[in-house]
């Protein structure tokens, strides 16, 4: 919990816009609408945006919630360095990508959603946020077990051997019984 990080919301919005743009594009191409070429652009742009936005970045405190199977895309997106890290560039990219969507009805919704995502990214960039990749932890944290199921490593603490030995004056009080009679060594 902490201050609002606009980039997190911008990322959700952009991913949703990518999906909407893609869906609108598919409808336009499948229905062979007038100016269907814009719909085809919508499909291409939608896929590109989904791939770019799918890997979630981590929050300022270093923690982040990964989306399932995002590791490969995280590596790809990270490889572009400052182009993907900087949110000004992302805001500009989304603003440019959304424009051709405004020409036919199927992609208009995707266009407007993407424009909103671009504005939120701009807000994030002004506040100095950056995209930092989430990489899985090197080793899993040791969890305390449900109950202590492992066998003990050491024998239980006992008084020294001298005290443990059976004494002649106190045969009944000893902690063990001998299976065979024991005699002292007499040579």
């Amino acid at each position: 919990m902490g201050k609002i990080e606009w980039a997190m919301w911008a990322n959700e919005q952009a991913l949703a816009s990518g999906l909407i743009l893609l869906t609108g594009g598919i409808v336009g191409v499948a229905g062979q609408f007038r100016n269907w070429q814009f719909a085809a652009y919508g499909i291409a742009a939608g896929i590109f945006i989904c791939l770019l936005e799918y890997p979630r970045g981590c929050k300022a405190n270093g923690k982040g919630q990964e989306r399932p199977y995002q590791y490969c895309l995280t590596v790809c997106v990270k490889a572009f360095g400052p182009l993907t890290r900087n949110y000004y560039i992302r805001a500009l990219l989304h603003a440019v990508l959304c424009v051709p969507g405004a020409f036919i009805l199927c992609t208009v919704l995707g266009c407007v959603c993407l424009a909103i995502a671009s504005i939120i990214y701009l807000l994030a960039a002004i506040r100095g946020e950056q995209w930092l990749p989430i990489f899985p932890r090197a080793e899993p944290r040791e969890k305390p077990g449900e109950s202590i199921k492992e066998p003990p490593q050491n024998p239980p603490p006992r008084p020294p051997a001298e005290m443990r030995r059976k004494r002649a004056e106190d045969m009944e009080g000893a902690a063990y019984t001998n299976p065979m009679p024991v005699m002292s060594n007499e040579y």
Binding site: M1, M8, W9, E12, Q13, Q65, F103, C106
Partner: protein, 562 residues
């Protein structure tokens, strides 16, 4: 299987009924628009896209009606109260209101997608038909004018326009785009990641629902879905469809007249909108009622205790209130569990510094001079949760994690008072209390309470009534060393209580077995206030150790959630 029915049966039933109604509405309206004669000509232009647009519309009407209801918390509290007589299963289902709200929201999103896609096709085909790209019948239908003795079928009147232009200049199109946009923004800001970390973004964006509902009510006002109207003499469709150019010239085929369907949505959503408005008005009235500070205590580990007094405030155990402090934030209401018992003449909350609002509140109150009144505080509530049921079970298992122990503070205090008064409402014979905590210094304010209870119980020789087990999950070797040195002392080194602190997490199998053995033929209510992971595990254990046979032990699981 039987165990699953006991614990989840009613919720599953409600979901099945809801899904059943959705499917029925979809299929009924699909068939209506697909086969009804009055839509024959409309279908000629639009083919299957017409029923594919109208069927989700019906489902959307139903779900938009439902979506406001689970969030009317005062209404739900009222229903819970009036069902005090009727079985605990029904009251438990009302706890899952937010889950139901989400299910309905997903259905709205899905149906919106189908509806929008169908209308994209509709607009494109209407436009093409108007431009004369289809057969003669289609062109003739589209040519019908909007004048004195002619009514139109095709809502696109111009021959030189685009679907985009039409969408933004008709009521239905414009409202449709606006409300879909509002819906998308609401959904993206309600994702778990955003909601848990940046609650304010979620809360403010979610108020776009006002735009959504206003747009929704006006969405059908343009009446652009048109059907054949009866004329005198009647227009014989099966005869006339093959000779559109003769319409108006032969007696069997007068020029067909069309009219638009009357808007339906307002009939579905008006009731819930009014209920929700009442809910918000009630919250506002509660906001205006004065609240006095009786005591403000800063506890260790950044926990703030507030003791407040309000006229006419009545509570039950384990309930929660919403607090609003205009000095910190004008519009935000945050929920907090009540930690006082109903028998006391004040109510208290323990607030931990977790986010912006709580941190700001604590810093405002820290700066106050001794003994003065705090800033204006508004209180909405109290609202009931599962804890009210604790005394109905013969045996209760209470599990609190960290600060999640707060509802149980209220319960334990109430037990103490009820015992002193020998209150006959107390059906409980035995309570098992488990507190899981990471750090020692979070124990203090609660340890005081437990010490008092321990003393009381020893005096009245009722030590078997309450069994409490404290689990310190964040121990390390220095703790262990400290404990080994002092292990033969009578009281616990950390808490000063007679029952020793356990280290590590509880072994739930052993715990459940022990309770089964000690209470062979009882109904055991399990109450948890803690993380989701633990809730799932406990729910599984409850199902595992429950017996369908009513003569043996049965576990019912209840979870608090905020």
């Amino acid at each position: 299987m039987g165990n699953w029915i006991i614990n989840h049966g009613l919720s599953a039933f409600i979901l099945i009924v809801w899904m059943g109604i959705n499917i029925f509405l979809f299929v009924y309206y699909y068939l209506l628009y697909n086969t009804d004669e009055s839509f024959f000509y409309t279908r000629h232009i639009l083919s299957a896209a017409l029923p594919w647009a109208r069927a989700p519309a019906a489902v959307l009407n139903f779900n938009c009606m439902l979506i406001l209801l689970p969030v009317c918390r005062n209404l739900l509290s009222l229903i819970r109260g009036s069902f005090m007589c009727c079985g605990r299963s029904l009251r438990k289902s009302l706890d899952k209101n937010i889950t139901f709200h989400k299910c309905v929201a997903y259905m709205i999103a899905l149906m919106t997608a189908v509806h929008t896609i169908a209308h994209l096709l509709n607009l494109e085909w209407f436009n093409n038909s108007r431009d004369g790209e289809y057969d003669t019948l289609s062109t003739t239908l589209s040519d019908l004018e909007d004048s004195e003795n002619e009514t139109y079928l095709n809502p696109i009147r111009s021959t030189s326009t685009t679907p985009t232009y039409v969408a933004f200049t008709t009521i239905a199109g414009l409202t449709g785009v606006v409300i879909t946009l509002a819906l998308i923004l609401m959904i993206t800001s309600s994702m778990e990641v955003i909601r848990r970390s940046y609650f304010e973004v979620f809360w403010y964006t979610h108020h776009l629902f006002i735009v959504f509902f206003v747009g929704l009510v006006f969405h059908g006002a343009g009446r652009i879905v048109r059907h054949l109207d009866t004329t005198d003499p009647p227009h014989n469709i099966s005869f006339c469809k093959d000779q559109p150019l003769n319409w108006g010239n032969i007696p069997e085929c007068p020029i067909p007249q069309f009219e638009g369907g009357f808007p339906q949505t307002w009939k579905w959503v008006l009731g819930p909108m009014i209920l929700y408005l009442c809910e918000r008005v009630l919250r506002f009235i509660r906001y205006m009622q004065p609240v006095m500070y009786r005591k403000i205590v800063m506890r260790p580990s950044k926990v703030l205790e507030l003791q407040l007094v309000k006229n006419g405030f009545k509570m039950e155990v384990g309930q929660y209130v919403f607090l609003n402090c205009p000095a910190v934030s004008q519009l935000e209401w945050h929920p907090f569990t009540l930690t006082s018992a109903p028998e006391e003449d004040f109510f208290s909350v323990h607030i931990r510094s977790m986010g912006d609002w709580t941190a700001n509140l604590i810093s405002v109150l820290e700066k106050l001079p001794e003994g003065s009144q705090g800033p204006k505080m508004a209180v909405d509530g109290p609202f009931g949760t599962a804890s009210e049921d604790v005394f109905d079970y013969e045996v209760s298992m209470l599990i609190g994690c960290g600060i999640g122990v707060t509802p149980f503070a209220s319960i334990l205090k109430s037990i103490w008072y009820k015992f002193k008064e020998s209150n006959p409402n107390l059906r409980t014979r035995k309570i098992y209390f488990y507190w899981l905590c990471r750090e020692t210094h979070a124990f203090e304010w609660f340890a005081d309470l437990l010490q008092v209870l321990e003393k009381e119980m020893t005096e009245r020789e009722m030590r078997h009534f309450l069994t409490y087990n404290l689990y310190l999950t964040g121990w390390d070797s220095s703790h262990a060393a400290h404990v080994t040195v002092h292990f033969d002392k009578d009281t616990d080194v950390i808490t000063g209580l007679k029952q020793k602190t356990h280290y590590g997490r509880p072994n739930w199998d052993k715990v459940f077995e022990q309770i089964c053995n000690e209470n062979p033929s009882s109904t055991v209510g399990t109450f948890l206030c803690g993380p989701e992971e633990l809730a799932k595990r406990l729910e599984r254990k409850c199902v595992e150790y429950s017996d369908v046979d009513p003569r043996k032990t049965r576990f019912y699981f209840n979870k608090e959630n905020f």
